[in-house]
Amino acid sequence: MERLENMMQLKKRLCGEAGKLLAAGALLVPAILICLPVLLILTGSVMDSLEMKEYLLPVFSDGEGYIRWRLVPDYPTFSHYGRLLFMTPSFFVLFWNSVKLVLCILAGQLLVGVPAAWAFAAYSVRGSRALFALYVVLMLLPFQVTMLSSYLVLDRLALMNTHAAIILPAVFSTLPIFLSYGGFRAIPPQLFEAARIDGASELRIFLTMGLPLGKSGLLSAMVLGFLEYWNLMEQPLAFLEDKALWPLSLYLPEISWLQAGFALCASFVTLIPAAFVFVLGQDYLEQGIVYSGLKE
């Protein structure tokens, strides 16, 4: 009898383990699919042009047969990297455009958005909830709805076709306020009350208590912001005519099919900063995604 019971228990445990294995398998298949593009970019970027041409021939000749690929190229080469990094000055111009745009936007959001998030999180005055609701609505409006309004004001300020046309509207975006708000809101306000009784000014409370204690929300806003603005497309497409001002994200599609290896190499280099920020900031990123779900 006891043996039977043991058997049953063993069976149950085995079933649980099998279920877990099955679940792991079911998760791995999409995970591999997700990784494949990265692998393709990486292998393509070190593949010799002629070899790549042979593999891609069916695609551009639109003839018979299918595309082919080797995960380990027959003729591996770093020539694309050499050409991109040492012989393509325009790539650098656009790379620095991207860096400049992202850094200016993030710095502006820190200066403007973070105090605003603090105002909403730390004080509850009459009308503040309605204002916050307005900010949430503005956060959710897509660029296309506000495109004409932004254009009208940028045109009047004579900022069209300058980097400021991209930076200024982004600085006043309300998404980072929403994310930083989550971080500030998690601090118990009794702390500030104690500081007030000790005679601290409101500014000092913000700088010495709010910022250090609420920094996770702020950092998550910065990480999400970096990924978003490194991928900037709609705004420069509409507001920048001069291609020398474009960010990197608009350069890649300009490279033709015939230079697929070079394009993949440029893609990989573009991906590096984003991947770097992703790996460093993943915890904050997740935190930010969760904060964006906080509601009040």
Partner: protein
């Protein structure tokens, strides 16, 4: 019971602390609130609210001369074939994508929640969020062109099973392009949906589930009666964020297929851009007001539902 009452009491105190008690301190707080908010609010007024009022005004005027025309622009856009097509496609895309994304995220999150340490898989799912759209466009072309990887893969399966011959569907030039967009939306956005669902699932106190287990509930009953009802808050957040991000699919659509793509993926975003390029500001203004109003009502309705659910 006592505990709950105590908790609401302390919540009440927290609100009182934020609001400030007494006249002089209340004034100090109002001033601080105002000063902290000022730079941002000034920018929002200057860059968003005032120009939007201008757009509303323009929606009742002609594009060039600025003559008042009443609601004529609105009449024009509703009879404009491109606008009707774009609205239809955008609505179809949203209605197909969001349920799919919500379900896919929930499935993955459930499966992940069974493991103690799943951060690596979570990172893998989240990574597409970090990949700039431009880097992925060439890959999408290699996969979805007529001689691309997808057809190669399908043909290989056909050869192995002997069920079909070579597959030569053109995914970007036919109605299939819609599903290419859906796939790339899911690829990019499943990760954050998983993170949100997972946060919701992990926030459910273990005691709830253990208590149900003791009372004899099986795995499915636990899911049906305890986990799902507790995820309502996450659900609304996920729907709102998925909606917000569904507009960004324009990047993929534009980079893969240009300003005038196959007609099943001609979205509102394409239309706005083309109007902008052609300086048709009257139509743009009317359409922006319409889309803005619809979104405003939708967001308010969702917030109302959200408030009720809590």
């Amino acid at each position: 019971m006592f505990v709950i009452k105590n908790r609401t009491n302390s919540l009440h105190n927290v609100e009182r602390l934020r609001a400030g008690i007494g006249g002089k301190r209340g004034w100090r707080r109002r001033r601080a609130f105002f000063l902290f908010l000022l730079p941002s609010f000034a920018g929002v007024i200057l860059f968003v609210l005032l120009p939007f009022l201008d757009v509303v005004k323009r929606s009742f005027q002609t594009a060039v001369t600025g003559e008042f025309t009443g609601i004529k622009n609105y009449g024009v856009i509703f009879h404009n074939q491109a606008f009707v097509l774009a609205v239809k496609n955008t609505a179809r895309f949203t209605l197909v994508c969001i349920p799919l994304l919500v379900l896919a995220g929930l499935l993955v999150a459930f499966t992940l929640s069974r493991f103690q340490n799943a951060s690596l898989i979570k990172s893998v799912y989240l990574f597409p969020l970090a990949m700039p759209t431009a880097t992925i466009v060439l890959v999408w072309k290699m996969v979805f062109y007529r001689q691309g990887f997808l057809n190669l893969f399908l043909t290989k399966i056909g050869e192995l099973t002997g069920l079909w011959g070579s597959v030569t569907t053109d995914y970007l030039g036919t109605g299939a392009s819609f599903w290419v967009l859906v796939a790339s939306y899911l690829w990019k956005n499943t990760g954050y949906t998983v993170v949100l669902w997972l946060a919701g699932i992990l926030a459910i106190p273990n005691e709830f589930i253990e208590a149900a287990r003791v009372d004899g509930a099986g795995r499915w009953k636990c899911i049906r009666y305890i986990i799902l009802p507790n995820l309502k808050g996450s659900f609304y957040t996920i729907v709102i964020l998925s909606f917000l991000n569904s507009f960004k699919i324009y990047r993929e659509a534009y980079l893969v297929a240009g300003s005038y793509p196959q007609e099943d993926i001609y979205l509102l975003q394409h239309l706005f851009n083309n109007w902008f390029v052609n300086l048709e500001f009257d139509k743009m203004a009317a359409a922006a007001v319409c889309v803005g109003a619809v979104l405003f009502v939708a967001i308010m309705a969702l917030q109302r539902i959200w408030d009720k659910a809590e």
